[in-house]
Amino acid sequence: MSGGGIAQLAQALRARRVSARALAERALAAARARSDLNAFITLSEDAALAAADRADAALARGDAAPLAGIPFAHKDIFCTRGIRTTCASRMLERFVPPYDATVVERLAAAGAVAIGKANLDEFAMGSSNENSHFGPVRNPWDATRVPGGSSGGSAAAVAAGIVPFATGTDTGGSIRQPAAFCGITGLKPSYGRVSRFGMIAFASSLDCGGVLARSAEDCAHVLAAIAGHDPRDATSVAHPAEDYVAALSTTLKGIRIGVAREYFGAGVADGVAAAVRAALAECERQGARLVEVSLPHAHLAIPAYYVIAPAEASSNLARYDGVRYGHRCDDPQSLEDLYTRSRAEGFGREVRRRILVGTYALSAGYYDAYYLRAQRVRRLIADDFAAAFATVDLIAGPTTPTVAFRLGEKAADPLAMYAADVNTVAVNLAGLPALSLPAGFSEGLPVGLQLIAPAFAEARLLAAGYQLQLATDWHLRQPTGAK
């Protein structure tokens, strides 16, 4: 599927040079061939082939929807009717939702063919995809390294060429960080741009559905299908979605890119900083103007995030109590026993840790110093962005401070793991859209450039990425073994 962007595939499908069924079969075969990556929790072959056949029929009739016949993977956090949805948790190991998420519905309506459910960190809590009940995902560029997380399976599946795109969710960097680690393009839309209905909640005021693909152009095609208001999500925004594909032709000429000083701080590896600066220099050659900006509270993003996200999670995950669905311990002796054992057994270590941290941050006597304080800092962080966007159109920096780290390297130290999110979490706190773009290599591993836009300026963001990718070929590089 190398080099096959969504537009080229759609063209080939419409010209009947390839069938949707053939693409689905090829993707399923590739997924099986690369089981070493552990990118999938569930492959849904029957549903995929049925969807492919429907797409072929529509293509034959000439009334095919825009993504008809394009295979893809869903992060296993989106509820899929009749197909188990685990959130990579023992808690939901056998949970088969009787309904589809809005994102799932919309992609199905757009004709795209889901081949399965991609692996992730349990309940999207993690930055390495090592916190999965179904085992870690491996980075297609180097099997000893993590793909990033939490959308690690989605990123690995796209980077390995199994599917041209995958859905993801981003609560603190969970789309952008794995996209950076795997050398692909990841879009986290503005909060509220994509419906959260049927997307299993981690931290509701931060969670954002989005897409991982090979290019900004492909992200635009997918966003066009999934964006828009949904009456089933009270935080879904009423703003009409723009024509993201048409807007791609806007050049970088005169675009002011704010280079955030704080995003090149002490923890950023030299090779990463150099690659990102080189990519920015390319933007400048395309006519963009680079302006140094400051986000003075950037260093408080991790502390604020690691209070707010666990606090919300502690409440969101209270519903997993072994009563109505999900894991229930054997032979509960009492209600208390049912709750405490089902939850201790059903949740993995990191999820338990975050629930406890969040419970603490909300509990009597600590609420003001932790939760409320973090919410005030959140405002300062959002205000930093607003001030910067008064003078620039986009803000740039490295997506991650380092390239993909080794499996196990940070697993024992939650703080080291959390530090990998240093440049991504602030965007979620402020609810902004951001894009991670391949920006060359360091130590032979992909580096990501993060572009951040004001709320609901996805069109501007995607156009900038597209224009950079017209002039560069980093996004076309694939690891060996890619399909």
Partner: protein, 513 residues
């Protein structure tokens, strides 16, 4: 044991003063739930009215019901409260099997309604103003059925997510009687406003009471206990009475009241601590991240205000001051809006005079108002009660009853006959005029017909006439009786009397009429 013996009035409490605050949960009568499109109808089979959200399936999200918000605002306006321009849905976190999400969506720091007051008429006629601290929107929990199975409880989530308005009074009530009068006033108001059906048996109107006692004259609140979910007005009164007594006993024994939740045991007339509630709860309230702030604009508030009609206490006052009704009648009529509206329609439906030349207003407006009140609270209430019908389903409409009362007021029929006509109307035999005519029940007040009958009687009993004229006044009643008999009881009594006196007097002069 009489209640006054158990709980003397505040003055007689002597050294102690009770302090009571009520938390009332009024179920808002919306068609769908607060956050899901599931139905709220009472009595469905278990779990048939529980949407995916109501059983907290993963990925489901709350979408709030505008009607619930508007009903809360309606209540706020009726108690002269502040309606928050911005208020917040917060999560109250705790684990319980009937709480599917592990949290209840409620309001905490910024409720939609705050600082209201409600005039409450006590049984002795005094009116107190009760401060209402807040009223907030929240969702109900499901229902635990503890006796469903051996060694297990069953959970029904039909009620989960039903919208509630929690109405919190300030701790300003000082006796069980005051507390119940306030509870009744809120009950009247929420039904009056059409926001709650007020059904206590079905749990659509529930009450928790916070009770403490303190030395009389102290301004410091004592340690309080909370009495949960008492489901009748009588039990609320008894539970509070018992609890005040108990706390006084505890304090007088030199012990301390323990802050705890207690349940009222109606069978044994006592309260007991609720098991499993011994540890202090830590609800970890925080703004619900799924729900942005509730914003209410001035225009929205005014639109709701425009639909508010006269409130029960205002109408009660008007009935007393303008219509001259006794306080007790006015209070009874205004106990629910349907009754008050019926009464209002009845007063207004007074038909014009049936007979040319008759006084259009023989008894005056106040007499008519009182006559109407007597009938609504008397004959009509009795008939509704016997038929177990709400006034909305009455078989005699206000205009129909007005037709009957007009005939009573103008003397066409007597009170006794009016009751007979009413019964026939209730039985569906037609309107008052038809029944009076068909049964020939009209009183004879036509002087010609009366005079003819009197003449016949006087002619029949000449010796009695002579006796009368010699001074035996008592015989007048004999002539009345004989004439009534001749007219089958339908003579207009006052008219008959007057004519008889006239004729008996005039006979001496040898002149007939």
């Amino acid at each position: 044991m009489s209640s006054s013996a158990l709980n003397p009035q505040p003055a007689a409490l002597g050294t102690w003063q009770a302090v009571i605050g009520l938390e009332i949960h009024a179920q808002l009568n919306t068609a769908s739930k607060l956050f899901s499109g599931a139905a709220t109808a009472y009595g469905a089979a278990p779990n048939r009215q529980a949407a995916a959200l109501d059983v907290a399936l993963p990925g489901t999200l709350p979408v709030p019901n505008r009607a619930a918000r508007d009903k809360a605002i309606r209540f706020g306006l009726a108690i002269g409260a502040r309606i928050a321009e911005q208020s917040i849905f917060a999560r109250k976190n705790y684990f319980y099997p009937d709480l599917p999400k592990g949290y209840q969506i409620s309001q905490y720091e910024r409720p939609i309604v705050s600082d209201g007051r409600l005039p409450v008429r006590l049984d002795d006629g005094r009116v107190i103003e009760v401060a209402i601290q807040r009223a907030h929107l929240e969702e109900d929990a499901g229902k635990s059925l503890h006796d469903a199975f051996h060694a297990a409880s069953g959970i029904d989530f039909n009620r989960a997510g039903v919208p509630l308005l929690e109405i919190v009074s300030a701790p300003v009530l000082h006796s069980a009687q005051e507390a119940v009068a306030y509870l009744r006033a809120v009950h009247t108001l929420v039904r009056w406003l059409g926001i709650c059906d007020g059904n206590l048996q079905e749990g659509s109107f529930r009450c928790d009471a916070n009770v403490s006692v303190r030395p009389a004259g102290s301004s410091v609140l004592g340690t309080r206990t909370e009495i949960k979910n008492v489901n009748s007005f009588r039990f609320v009164e008894k539970a509070i009475e018992y609890e005040i007594e108990r706390q006084i006993r505890v304090l007088e024994n030199g012990e301390r009241v323990v802050q705890e939740t207690r349940l009222y045991d109606a069978a044994h007339h006592r309260t007991r601590p609720l098991r499993g509630k011994e540890e202090a709860e830590d609800y970890r309230y925080f703004p619900d991240p799924d729900l942005p702030p509730i914003v209410v604009t001035a225009a929205e508030i005014e639109a709701i205000r425009a639909t508010l009609s006269e409130l029960p206490h205002a109408r009660r006052r008007r009935y007393v001051e303008t219509l001259g009704l006794p306080e007790a009648d006015a209070a009874q009529l205004c106990a629910d809006k349907a009754t008050a509206d019926y009464y209002e329609a009845l007063c207004a439906a007074r038909p014009g005079p049936a007979k040319p030349g008759a006084d259009a207003n023989p008894a005056g407006g106040r007499e008519w108002a009182k006559l109407c009140a007597n009938w609504v609270l008397g004959e009509l209430a009795a008939a509704l009660n016997a038929a177990e019908l709400p006034i909305e389903a009455t078989r005699v409409t206000a205009p129909a009853l007005a037709g009957l009362l007009a005939r009573l007021a103008d003397g066409t029929i007597s009170g006794r006959i009016a009751k007979e006509v009413f019964a026939a109307m209730w039985a569906g035999e037609g309107d008052a005029e038809t029944i009076i005519a068909a049964r020939g029940l009209a009183q004879i007040s036509d002087d010609g017909a009366l005079a003819a009958a009197i003449d016949a009687v006087l002619a029949e009993f000449p010796s009695q006439v002579q006796d009368y004229r010699r001074g035996n006044d008592k015989l007048l009643q004999f002539f009345v009786g004989q004439t009534m008999k001749r007219l089958r009881g339908q003579a207009h009594p006052q008219r008959l009397n007057a004519l008889l006196r006239e004729k008996l007097g005039s006979r001496a002069e040898g002149r007939g009429l």
